[in-house]
């Protein structure tokens, strides 16, 4: 009997806001799904689209980006850059056959531990419903006959 699908989500959290919020969720003993691997960056503006693409290419089922609310960025403009990149990236991923629910951008401030919990739980369920993401075309068929 195969194991039920457990989504693997990679999260890129900014050091000054979202990462602290995740810490807070932990110290407050808020329960949330264990499916997320967190990568800490200094700013959501540091998220290079290649990080997201690479995550999917290596087997992530979803990618979450967390940053400071607009206007609160530690580096002033970083989160606006993230928002613009995210807009284009989401479109690109959709054209590449990756459903919108698999990538998500959230503004989470340092005090919003509860938001970390609810966003992660929500995303895990949505991705679970979508099923696993197959990054690699593992075998390339060359059929003997071409069927209708």
């Amino acid at each position: 009997m195969p194991d039920p699908f457990e989504p693997r989500i990679v999260a890129f959290f900014c050091n000054w806001c979202t990462y602290l919020a995740a810490d807070l969720a932990g110290t407050s003993r808020l329960k949330y799904a264990p499916n997320v691997r967190v990568v800490r960056l200094m700013c959501s503006g540091r998220v290079d689209p290649q990080f997201v693409l690479n995550a999917f290419a290596r087997g992530a089922d979803g990618v979450l980006i967390g940053g400071c609310h607009p206007g609160d960025c530690h580096y002033q403009e970083g989160n606006y850059k993230a928002l613009r990149r995210f807009h284009l990236l989401k479109r690109l991923l959709r054209e590449m056959g990756i459903e919108e629910e698999r990538i998500r951008l959230e503004w989470i401030s340092a005090s919003e531990g509860d938001k970390v919990r609810s966003v992660i739980n929500d995303m895990v369920e949505k991705v679970r419903a979508l099923g696993p993401f197959t990054a690699r075309v593992t075998e390339d068929r060359v059929l003997e006959e071409v069927t209708a």
Binding site: Q50, F56, Y80, M96, D140
Partner: protein, 325 residues
């Protein structure tokens, strides 16, 4: 037999433009021909599998292979030429990055064949005939190479030593590669043989490139009159120069049209499309969803814009499709 180094040219899924670049060496081609022995060139010489197979392994000093890998025959030929050659050069965007034929990675064979052979408005095809790997006609068995679902770059199939980028590479870039080869001045293996900097550096409009740019709206080239001297991005036209490797001397920009990225990325980037997208997000957009949506409204085809030549070489390589139709 001469002592001249043996060189070969071969083409896979390509348009032949790279071969034309060789012809465009014009008078200089005669110098090249005097210096090497071209032993294998299907467009000009007979290629025969078993003939190539009988050549000793490594007896060809360098093979310049253009075109992406799309069929079984092309994969086999790439592997064979790899064996027979000391050095293998991926020549042109298709073998380097997948090229324009790589756009087929948005589909698979099951979706492409019906469109071409059954659903074309000028192809009624009442019997629904589609080309087959093996078919029997008038009692004769005829075969065709098989098509893969996914177009691949050359280095996804065999080990590649050097890359000569461009769609097509310019005669200057090719000549530099040949010169380096013949004079033993090749850099470290895996190098892309073009300057490792962004196209902006050699663009004739460099002076008018703004320090900061925040376009409220990106325009499609046919929507605006384009000034011939000002930086294209500054005019609101999407130019991929900042994300693209230099070496072509900005030919398209001199033609008053934006760079579309055929030379691929600089050495520090793996996924051209991701980085190009990032570059464009740095010069346009606003501060909220509405402003951003308006800024980027005129980029409805992300893959065609950011991965036009490089889809097979990207991190995801192809679109995820459901099995079957």
């Amino acid at each position: 037999m001469s002592d001249k180094p043996k060189v070969a040219f071969y083409w896979c899924a390509s348009c032949g433009g790279c071969e034309e670049t060789v012809v465009d060496l014009e008078e200089k081609l005669l110098d090249v021909v005097a210096a090497v022995d071209i032993v294998y060139w299907p467009v000009a010489l007979d290629f025969k599998r078993h003939e190539l197979e009988t050549m000793p392994d490594g007896s060809i000093v360098a093979t310049f292979l253009n075109g992406a890998i799309r069929t079984t025959e092309q994969e086999e030929m790439a592997q064979l030429l790899r064996k027979k050659s000391q050095l293998l050069f991926a020549f042109g965007s298709c073998s380097h990055l997948g090229g324009i034929p790589g756009l087929a990675n948005l589909w698979d064979r099951e979706r492409i064949l019906p469109t071409v052979y059954r659903e074309s408005p000028s192809t009624p095809n009442p019997e629904g005939t589609v080309p087959r790997r093996v078919s029997k006609v008038n009692g004769d068995a005829l075969s065709l190479p098989g098509l893969f679902d996914t177009v691949r770059t050359l280095d996804q199939v065999v080990d590649v030593d050097y890359y000569v980028p461009g769609c097509p590479p310019t005669p200057k870039i090719l000549l530099a590669a040949l010169d380096a080869l013949l004079n033993g001045k090749l850099p470290e293996k895996g190098t892309v043989l073009a300057p490792d900097q962004a196209l902006c550096e050699e663009c004739p409009r460099k002076e008018s490139r703004p320090e900061q740019l925040s376009l409220a709206e990106v325009k499609r080239p046919h929507q605006v009159l384009i000034d011939e001297t000002t930086c294209l991005l500054a005019q609101g036209v999407l130019c991929l120069g900042p994300a693209t490797r230099a070496g072509c001397e900005a030919l398209c920009v001199k033609g008053n049209m934006p760079c579309t990225g055929c030379f691929g990325p600089t050495s520090r980037v793996k996924d051209f499309g991701g980085k190009a997208l990032s570059a464009m997000a740095s010069v346009a957009g606003g501060k909220d969803e509405a402003e951003i949506a308006r800024a980027f409204e005129n980029i409805p085809d992300s893959v065609g814009t950011f991965y036009r030549y490089s889809l097979p070489s990207s991190l995801l390589r192809r679109k995820r499709l459901e099995a079957g139709r």
